[in-house]
């Protein structure tokens, strides 16, 4: 028997949640509002942020 631990995403796995929610999922182009102060910038930087967290 190997050591298996089952992590409930609701209780743990915060980085896993961020990774999936921020970095995956279909990207919508078009009239997504990117005029708003930095929404699109935020999205780009969030991916950098994820790299920073994972390497911490």
């Amino acid at each position: 028997m190997s050591e298996v631990c089952l992590v409930s995403p609701s209780a743990a796995g915060l980085v896993d949640v961020l990774d999936r929610v921020i970095d995956r999922g279909a990207v919508v182009n078009g009239d997504v509002i990117i005029t708003l102060a930095g929404i699109d910038l935020i999205r780009l930087d969030l991916r950098l942020l994820l790299v920073a967290i994972e390497n911490a």
Partner: protein, 244 residues
């Protein structure tokens, strides 16, 4: 309050949306789940990665928004196949949501067919026994003895790594057999031997989980079930030029 329309998932048209404030914009059997949200918290997110030197906490504004996004996706995923949209997808208005569905009806429908009856599971594997740190005293050793000891230890460490990689590859191969699709995270020096997501049909889940327990030399961490986040490779468009 700066109102905006936050979009979460595309799914099959249905009667109930589990969470308050959510509604469906529908088109020919498909639906996009949206909610009016205040955009202020999105605009106020700390976007500078240098501020993120520590593990994120549940109190962080980004984490709260991301958790909410995940919660909405999951609440739909509980009963229906979903095509998750990326966090922070803010549409101009309902007509934009409708255009999105109209433009991508075929693509989105095919995707939902493909993931129906599946759940995503994340698997990470590391060596169960990565080896003891180098603590043996070198006092009183001759130069030749020291070099021999060093060489033996390096060889042993290399052997452990090689065996670990072989075991991880075997685990991955076995798990892939139960999965409709597999995605590997890019390997970096510090990452586990295996870091992958598997899209597993419901009737293969038991066998899939049994397999994760069959590899003694590995410490295996399983996360899930997840909505099929890791398998989306779609770029959608509501068909208008972005307002930059």
């Amino acid at each position: 309050m700066r109102p905006g329309l936050c979009a979460y998932v595309i799914t099959r048209e249905h009667m109930l949306v589990a969470l308050p404030g959510m509604r469906l914009v529908t088109h020919r059997g498909l639906a996009i789940v949206v909610a009016e949200v205040d955009l202020t918290p999105f605009a106020e997110l700390e976007a500078n990665p240098t501020h993120w030197t520590e593990e994120p906490s549940e109190d962080d504004p980004l984490v709260k928004l991301a958790r909410r996004h995940d919660l909405v996706v999951r609440s739909v995923f509980e009963h229906h196949p979903v095509l998750p949209l990326r966090f922070g997808t803010i549409l101009r208005d309902e007509p934009a949501a409708l255009r999105l569905l109209t433009n991508h009806h075929h693509e989105a429908g095919a995707w939902l067919d493909r993931v129906a009856g599946h759940r995503e599971w994340g698997v990470r594997a590391r060596l169960a026994h990565p080896g003891e740190p180098d603590t043996m005293s070198t006092e009183g050793m001759s130069g030749a003895e020291y070099l021999t000891m060093r060489r033996d230890r390096l060889a042993a460490a290399a052997r452990v790594r090689r065996d670990g990689s072989t075991a991880a590859a075997a685990l991955d191969e076995a798990l892939t057999r139960y999965a409709t699709e597999t995605v590997h995270r890019p390997r970096k020096p510090s990452t586990p031997l295996l870091d992958a997501a598997y899209l597993v049909p419901a009737d293969a889940e038991a066998a899939f989980h049994a397999e994760t327990e069959r590899h003694d030399e590995l410490a295996v961490e399983v996360t899930g079930p997840w909505p099929p986040y890791s398998f989306v490779r779609l770029k959608l468009s509501s068909g208008e030029v972005a307002h930059v």
